[in-house]
Symmetry: C2
Subunit: 321 residues, 2 copies
């Protein structure tokens, strides 16, 4: 939650003049996103989000993300739509950083999602998967099954500082997943980070999806598995099968799962849990002493992983055969 | 620049229901203000700023500030206007903190003010002083000449860490100011913190004044002296008399200075420079090791103080006798 780069009125004014978006009225740095600097911009025509991409984002990936948003918006998906500068470019430069202007999406993320929200999420995710099918861009998932071991190698030595026996537990799970990870599942563009804070609602109605900066090409069902982890556990760690059922039912009402996808849900869910366990563990061990940022608790995902390890088949997720 | 308190969609929804401001569409924590948490709220009717008052603000002062904003807005001054809840209260509670909703002011603060901006500032400040004259509230200036020594006592021992000889220099100035500080100047409500980031412009037109959380009752000319310090020095430390002249001319076009006020400008300017030197010094010495906040440089105000010490009379500020 931060604005890393200061932008002056003069710099922003000059930048906005390159766009046909009306007269600039105000801009506020917003406390959102941990990777980039974001500003809410008002003009006399509309509201926009201006993003300055900071060093953690690979600038070579930006065309993939921005063209994807354009593609999805053209298909009618509710997501931030990049605004082209008068010269046609979606990507500009401001304060020495790559910068893009996108339309502002009204809506709020839901801190405590209810079953109805999970159902709407399922539908929207399926629409995203369908809308992305003919997207020409390709981006490998850097955090897929092949990316986990290199990440683990960087933190395995200190894992037990976080939890006694954690290193062994992760090593065993990693070997299992590497040996049995499914291939050839239906694939395409996935969001890959569809946590509640990236999904906006107005009341019970889903108003849009945001933050596509982990989007990549991977198995659709892996995106579902991420959401089962992110949306269907209660604060006390208990899995809520009613929410999972609503999520899967919502999804299938737009895009039915294949038999292979249904069968793969338990292992994909284990993989998704391990992926967030590993990145959180890495962040946890990387935070400098005395920093003001509180990293997210890796052990939340250890508990989720252990749940998925007990799952025998997809019926445990409420999937009706 | 921070949001200190998280607010959930549910909490905010329940809070906004107490106001007749239309349907809640979105809210974003904004990176503005160092004392409080601020959110930009969109409803289908308008935009608002929601402020949660954190512990550095004395809750007993809040009615003074909020009633003042209401009073000034009623008089036609462009400033955030508090929105009363349906029950009539300007002050509410959210997430365990005192909270207020005010109208959103379009405009941007000017990082490098030009002479024209200084002239507009002068006019707006004079309008503020006139509009506040019949305000019933009273708040002592906690940082007036009597407040400086207690502040200095808390940091004098370590002053020389910041600059060799600083403690002696401040002590001498403080004694001089305490002995010769003018009384009986025309007084009323002053803003007391009218730095460029609290003054919004749309192009060259001043669109409003914000952040009245230092407002108090004190000499009008002291407010001018603060602005001479805050607006009329260049980045290299040089005093820009053209800007000062425009500021004073703009002010006098709305509210002419009395002879006593004109005469007092040099000592008031020294006092204003010392006030910000002391608070910055205090903050500089109070920041914990390793904190991510960079405090503002106290020595900027030492240089300004030394300039004012060389001033013989108000003509040095471009005041035409």
């Amino acid at each position: 939650m931060a604005v890393y780069t200061d932008v002056s009125d003069e710099e922003l004014g000059a930048f906005i003049e390159g766009y046909d978006v009306g007269r600039l009225l105000s801009f506020k740095g917003i406390a959102e996103g941990v990777e980039n600097s974001n500003f809410l911009v008002h003009t006399d025509a509309a509201s926009f989000i201006l993003t300055l991409y900071e060093k953690r984002v690979n600038p070579n990936d930006l065309p993939y993300f921005l063209n994807l948003l354009q593609h999805l918006a053209d298909k009618g998906l509710s997501c931030p739509q990049p605004v082209a500068a008068s010269g046609g470019a979606l990507l500009g430069e401001l304060a020495g950083r790559p910068a893009a202007l996108v339309t502002f999406l009204e809506g709020m993320w839901v801190k405590r999602p209810k079953t109805v929200h999970c159902g709407e999420l399922g539908k929207a995710m399926a629409r995203l998967h369908l809308a992305g099918q003919d997207y020409a861009g390709f981006r490998k998932n850097a955090l897929d099954v092949h990316g986990w071991r290199p990440l683990f190698d960087q933190c395995s030595a200190r894992s037990n500082e976080v939890h006694e026996g954690l290193a062994d537990e992760i090593a065993a799970e990693l070997s299992h997943l590497e040996a049995s990870w499914p291939s050839d599942l239906p694939s395409g563009v996935i969001h890959a980070d569809l946590f509640p804070d990236n999904v906006f609602f107005l009341g019970q109605e889903l108003s849009g999806l945001i933050d596509f900066y982990f989007a990549c090409n991977d198995a659709f069902a892996y995106d579902i598995a991420i959401c089962l982890n992110a949306w269907c556990f209660e604060v006390d760690g208990a899995f809520n099968v009613t929410k999972a059922k609503a999520l899967l039912k919502g999804y299938a009402s737009v895009r039915p799962l294949t038999a292979d996808e249904s069968k793969a849900l338990p292992i994909l869910s284990r993989g998704a849990a391990l992926r967030f366990l590993l990145t959180r563990l890495y962040d946890w061990l990387s935070v400098p002493e005395g920093a003001m940022v509180t990293p997210k608790d890796p052990l939340e995902y250890l508990k989720k992983l252990r749940f998925h390890q007990t799952v025998k088949n997809s019926e445990a997720y409420g999937l009706v055969a």
